[in-house]
Symmetry: C2
Subunit: 125 residues, 2 copies
């Protein structure tokens, strides 16, 4: 079974972490047959952390885990922390395939989404 | 003259900060007549910081500054730090109108962008 794991930074504000959890819920509802499991995890402050989310997915029968970094910029977390944790988890779960998708900020669609948003704001005044 | 100021977190990795600067460049090239000035600033680590970016925009003749938080989640930075700095700058520049747009993660388009990205990855395998 294929699993999607959305990784966010994590915040001291519960509202902010709940935004990420709601995003995972929306993706779970709309991901159709592509993913049997959809989960979210945080690098800092909030839980679950990546390792415990991966343990849960393994227990639920994931045979493949696609990691999606919900980050705008390829900072230290995207460039180093997530790949390092995935390498550790590969050793812990040799029977699970891991894949890391490009981070959100790398998607071309982002800049046109922002432009649309900004135009709307500018014309709404 | 109306200015757009894109605020990002800032990273120790130059590549990551350059991604934000390139985004500002793309928006500057494509923002048409909506904004006479487009700049970016960082809350931590990188420069310019918000206050010096706002000083530059004021010097370049901005009469109105639209602040766009380039953040995915409404964490402490979006909920507290950016509004607090904007309040301080309002006092420093009483003749400039300030407006804070909703942060990027609040846009509905984000979740469909992610779904498209994830589907593409899932079907490409």
């Amino acid at each position: 079974m294929k699993a999607l794991l959305i990784i966010a930074h994590g915040s001291r504000r519960k509202d902010s972490n709940d935004e990420v959890r709601r995003l995972a819920d929306r993706i779970r509802e709309n991901s159709g047959p592509a993913f049997g499991l959809v989960a979210s995890a945080f690098l800092e402050i909030s839980s679950p952390q990546m390792d415990s989310a991966i343990a849960d997915l393994a227990e639920e029968g994931a045979t493949s885990i696609v990691v999606f970094p919900y980050f705008l910029a390829a900072g230290t977390h995207v460039a180093h922390d997530i790949p390092r944790i995935v390498e550790e988890e590969k050793e812990a779960y040799p029977n699970i395939d891991f894949e890391i998708l490009p981070h959100l900020g790398a998607l071309q669609g982002i800049s046109s989404l922002i432009l649309k948003h900004i135009y709307k704001s500018a014309s709404g005044e």
